[in-house]
């Protein structure tokens, strides 16, 4: 359990300010019913312990797992193989991402069940999967990354006018939450591994950019979902 102290410190820094703010509000201003306040405190303790355990688990378990799979995938020959498993990996990591779940839960509750959380998680995961595969294709075919970003963001801007207004903010939030503690190590390792294995590409110039591209997919996906619902 080495490094646990570090994780503990990190989590304290993340959670104590908001907890202190709520306690200050409770004492000075709002005075929530005691039961509600107790719920908040117990919830905060659970989030604290949970996050610390989770981050330690990511360090010990998911990080080496991501490196192993991400480094191995590109060594195994053919393009269809690489693209297919990049897609599957993108999907699997997003489904496991806690940030995505928190957002989906909030959207489910706020929209009164109109946007079911499983639908949202599925859409976001499909978006990430597609764009991780596209990003791999880019590395292999050496498409300039600016070109891919340009086209994708143009699509986002155009779609944001066509999508029901209520879905546009959710779409952008979806793009943000995908790049959390589970997704990032896997996708980074995949990009760096691919660039390292393919001849004539530098890991530095070609290996990065996947995380940024991966967060475009969910934005487009959720906008399309919005058009479907609207």
């Amino acid at each position: 359990m080495q490094g646990f102290r570090e994780v503990f410190k990190e989590v304290s820094l993340a959670i104590l300010p908001i907890t202190a703010a709520v306690i200050a509000l409770q004492v000075l201003l709002v005075r929530l019913p005691l039961e509600l306040f107790a719920r908040f405190l117990i919830g905060a303790v659970m989030v604290f312990v949970g996050l610390a355990l989770f981050l330690q688990g990511v360090k010990v378990g998911l990080l080496p797992m991501g490196e192993a799979v991400g480094g191995e995938l590109p060594k195994r020959g053919s393009m269809p193989f690489l693209l297919f498993f990049a897609f599957v990996l993108g999907f699997a990591v997003t489904v496991a991402e806690p940030d995505v779940r928190v957002l989906a839960l909030q959207v489910d509750v706020v929209s009164g069940g109109l946007v079911d959380r499983h639908t949202l998680i599925f859409t976001v995961a499909a978006g990430v999967a597609l764009f991780v595969a596209l990003a791999m294709l880019r590395i292999v075919l050496r498409v300039p990354i600016a070109w891919l970003y340009g086209v994708s963001y143009l699509a986002i801007i155009l779609l944001s006018f066509a999508t029901p207004a209520a879905f546009v903010p959710i779409a952008f939030d979806s793009g943000g939450v995908t790049t959390g503690p589970v997704t990032v190590p896997f996708i980074l390792a995949l990009g760096l591994g691919t660039a390292a294995v393919m001849g004539g590409r530098s890991s530095f110039a070609d290996g990065f950019g996947l995380v940024g591209l991966a967060s475009i997919g969910p934005v487009l996906g959720v906008m399309l979902l919005g058009m479907l619902f609207g």
Binding site: R39, G43, A52, F54, V95, A96, R101
Partner: protein, 67 residues
């Protein structure tokens, strides 16, 4: 009291977390068995990490939903 009892009902969140991590673990196991063949001790250590992740996620999501 019932509100506090709801805190300790981890069944729903537990199931959700297991379902969430299952595809990733299955994906890794497939790779491990077919291609990677990492040493068993290394994999065992990895799965300790995964177990921590599961426990942590259950607590975290339960805390978020309840508090």
């Amino acid at each position: 009291m019932s509100a506090l009892a709801a805190f300790l009902d981890f069944r729903h969140v537990g199931l959700e977390v297991l379902l969430a991590l299952a595809p990733l673990v299955a994906f890794f196991l497939f790779f491990q068995l077919v291609y990677l063949r990492l040493p068993a001790a290394f994999v065992a250590n990895m799965f300790k990490g995964v177990a921590l992740c599961i426990a942590g996620l259950v607590l975290f999501l339960q805390g978020v939903q309840m508090g």
